[in-house]
Amino acid sequence: MNFLRGVMGGQSAGPQHTEAETIQKLCDRVASSTLLDDRRNAVRALKSLSKKYRLEVGIQAMEHLIHVLQTDRSDSEIIGYALDTLYNIISNDEEEEVDDVEEENSTRPSEDLGSQFTEIFIKQPENITLLLSLLEEFDFHVRWPGVKLLTSLLKHLGPQVQQIILVSPMGVSRLMDLLADSREVIRNDGVLLLQALTRSNGAIQKIVAFENAFERLLDIITEEGNSDGGIVVEDCLLLLQNLLKNNNSNQNFFKEGSYIQRMKPWFEVGDENSGWSAQKVTNLHLMLQLVRVLVSPTNPPGATSSCQKAMFQCGLLQQLCTILMATGVPADILTETINTVSEVIRGCQVNQDYFASVNAPSNPPRPAIVVLLMSMVNERQPFVLRCAVLYCFQCFLYKNQKGQGEIVSTLLPSTIDATGNSVSAGQLLCGGLFSTDSLSNWCAAVALAHALQENATQKEQLLRVQLATSIGNPPVSLLQQCTNILSQGDKINRRGSKIQTRVGLLMLLCTWLSNCPIAVTHFLHNSANVPFLTGQIAENLGEEEQLVQGLCALLLGITIYFNDNSLESYMKEKLKQLIEKRIGKENFIEKLGFISKHDLYSRASQKPQPNFLSPECMIFDHEFTKLVKELEGVITKAIYKSREEDKEEEEVKKTLEQHDSIVTHYKNMIREQDLQLEELKQQISTLKCQNEQLQTAVTQQASQIQQHKDQYNLLKIQLGKETQHQGSHNDGAQMNGIQPEEISRLREEVEELKSNQELLQSQLAEKDSLIESLKSLETSSGMNEQSSEAASIRDSEQIAELKQELETLKSQLNTQSMEINNLQIEKQELLQKAEAFAQSVPVPGDSEKIAAKTTDVEGRLSALLEENKELKNEIKSLSEEKTAIKEQLDSSNSTIAILQNEKNSLELHIKDSKKEQDDLLVLLADQDQKIIAIKKKLKEAGHPDEEEDELIIPVGQDDEFDEDEDDDKNDIEGDIQL
């Protein structure tokens, strides 16, 4: 406050004095007037003065304005004016516009003004709570200035305001609702408010994410047309970045919420080139950065790798690679895309494999890696782009033995494309290594070093590489060519800093020789190399040469530390003596220390990305700084060690190696077991599935069994009841519940059927006797021809009727035998059940016998009670139940067999019936013959005409008969005429 008064006193002496009075008067009206209209007008007047007389209004009116916010909430207009006024006082936004015109030095105090007023405002934390509650007001004139005011407060004193919001109940959640506001202005300013709210506050970032911020922001971005959207998209992306950067919990949530998939359409920019507006470039840049936030090498390894996998699975990586190979993409977008692809593939085998398979759409198609490397060794390409390509190449090779092998193999004699049609990665790297552009030298050396990183096989393979120099001269090895350039480097005229070439080559050699005694031997084999190194280190050169000296010391140190004493002249001990004689131990160690003391060393050691302020700063590679850290100590120790200690160490090393091999053995074992574990896990999960299915089956079966049990119980209860019933009424016939009734019913039916059958049989007998009588008629026909004539006509009619009757009888027989069949089955079943229920109590076979059995009812009763107990026991055990069911099944099988027999016998029955019918037909035929014979006899007797007339007349006389029985008549006629 003192400061403010000072500023006010100093700046505004004369003319503002009257304004101060006016403001004071207005403040008094706001404070004391009882009329709302009056207060509202006063606040409005203050608002209009607040921009011009920001300081005065701020000092005099703030507390009154806050009071208005507290007491006049019902009138949104006055609240709106009060918030506007407060915003004008606190915000620097308006000031800045004025500042542009005014002198620069006035910016400082006005910025401080905003902070000072903010400090006053938040001295009462309730003021923030009050503001938060006002934001729930839907009225545009309240909510909008409220949002802007809070944003301003956050911009001035972020941490303090954040803390107040964090502890006010639901504070953050309420602010999240702004994103759902249908009025775009408020939604957009809401995004800005959330940006300020989430800045560097992990706790708030998490709450905002919890409140579905990702979903909402991604929706807005989609609605606005992704990268083609306006500044809102940019603001949303900045907010997303706030929420995700360095916030592992939110990153995990983002990945688990499947939001990575929603990023893919951002990069569907297509080749049609709808133009690259500045906004689109900005948006796309932020989008790429957001991808990088999720896969940053500084994230926990597990987090990054799961995001990398998700990015491949949803096609995001593929989409990025399309941009990589597209034409017309602005250089900075292309550069950032390369950096993004780099981090999406880094250390992730699947993604690296995919990247290796990407081809540029050129003719013939070239691998993307080759196309990119061409840019790296092309000095006309922008520096940042070349760095990006190097990063991409490094990321491709990081923890990628397969990729390393493929790159090195393009240099080996056996695989070099003899036709020379297509450029290989190896050719480009060699070209870069020995070009006249020092940046290309450095990049190619570092790139090649990454192909050897932690890969002993490739270090040895690379020793095989031979280079053709000038025509006529023998080929020289790649290793030798590197050292040649090192020692003769000064003679070649190069673009750029000479130091970069040498530093690059030395880093390559150090990487190559470390952990590779064979390479060390190769290096030492050239007798020029060691003197060159000792010469470099020993010389007293200028400051700029110190780094090279340090690197030479490191290389010499490596040749000692990784020396397997296979060369007589350059055994460990000899080299150490050489150092002592030519350089001096202390001097050597001091020179070695130059490396890590270099200005640019620590910057490179922080992040894997080659990120240099300028091309001159391109000195250290990140992986190389790791190597230095690892070797500096051990080499220093090795130099100081005596011969005895060396021997000891040798032994220790040997045992260590043994240990190592044991460890590798176990590692392999663990890997195998891991695989097995994985398999077993899968098996378990499938078994779990099966188990679940089986369990449901079991529960189903259990419920079925329960049902059976229930039925069983029900029957048992019925049985019990009936036992009682029987006890009191001496009615033995009902002891088996429903069965006796059914059995008796069945019995009745069987009786009925039997009588039916008997009836049929008697009918058949009648027919037989009829035939018999016909026969006798025939024999007497000779004596009484007249009567036999009539009889024969009657006969033929009767035969027809007989035939029909026989037919119906036959079908009746059939259906009845079927019925019998069914009934017998039923009966059998029921009998079975009855048996199961009562073994000791005999099922009353015949209702007539029941009466006789009433005497031993009591005996049976007790037997039944015992039976009851038995049944109870049975119910208790499920397995017994099952066996009972099985038994039932068996007995039903036997029933089926019985029924089969029954059926067979019925079939026989039917056969018999048929036979009977046939016999009848034969009889009928006989009868016919006889009738014919009679006819003949009649003719012979001398009544041929009469016979015919008389035969025809009765038939023709009856018209009805004639029509209905036409066929029969014809048959009969035919028969007769025969």
Partner: protein, 212 residues
């Protein structure tokens, strides 16, 4: 991955009762004897199956200290389920349950399912709170109850899954307004797909979902 529903959970309770270990055991199936003190809130997620439906659980593990209480409160409203954890070897953590419950009830939506968990059941010899006491407290306050061990993984799955089942049942009963995401429930793409066409089940969309 496609899911039918998404539920948001929070884990609350005094510091040191094993909240973070429970989450780790549930999401990663491992136990970390020395666990960092949770600062603020940490996130974890896992897919489970209920009634043949894939359900995604998003879980926020909170810090138990008093100083983080106001931060924790911000998570109540948007959660569908809460695991309220105490340590059976420390009676004070049991005594504080009432305070936790009041806080939860005050700031959450009324339908939030609360599961009471007595953790560290593997430390039987050091038990200070009887299982019956936990049961009684749960009965009295209408909570589901379980004793768990984040160390041996005993009942850990069950605790998370039973809470989900309870929420799922509430959805089936129509108690939860599933269209209001503020309740901590979201309908997933899988659900929408199966609703739209019945044949969607055989479609390739779900092929990646796997069976378990």
């Amino acid at each position: 991955m496609a899911y039918a529903y998404l539920f948001k959970y929070i884990i609350i309770g005094d510091t040191g009762v094993g909240k973070s270990c429970l989450l780790l055991q549930f999401t990663d199936k491992r136990f970390q004897p020395v666990h960092d003190l949770t600062i603020g809130v940490e996130f974890g997620a896992r897919m489970i199956t209920i009634d043949g439906k894939q359900i995604k659980l998003q879980i926020w593990d909170t810090a138990g200290q008093e100083s983080f209480r106001s931060i924790t409160r911000s998570y109540y409203r948007g959660a569908a389920g809460a695991l309220l954890v105490y340590d059976i070897t420390r009676r004070d953590t049991f005594n504080h349950l009432t305070t936790w419950l009041e806080d939860a009830r005050q700031h959450s939506n009324s339908n939030m399912v609360i599961m009471l968990i007595g953790n560290k059941s593997d430390l039987e010899s050091r038990r200070e709170v009887k299982k019956e006491e936990g049961e009684a407290f749960a009965r009295e306050h209408g909570l589901i109850f379980m004793e768990t061990s984040a160390k041996t993984a005993s009942n850990v799955e069950e605790a998370f899954i039973n809470t989900a089942k309870e929420i799922y049942e509430k959805i089936q009963e129509g108690v939860f307004d599933i269209n209001n995401e503020a309740n901590g429930i979201k309908i997933g793409p899988q659900h929408a797909a199966t609703n739209a066409t019945h044949t969607g089940n055989q479609g390739g969309q779900q092929a990646g979902g796997g069976c378990c």
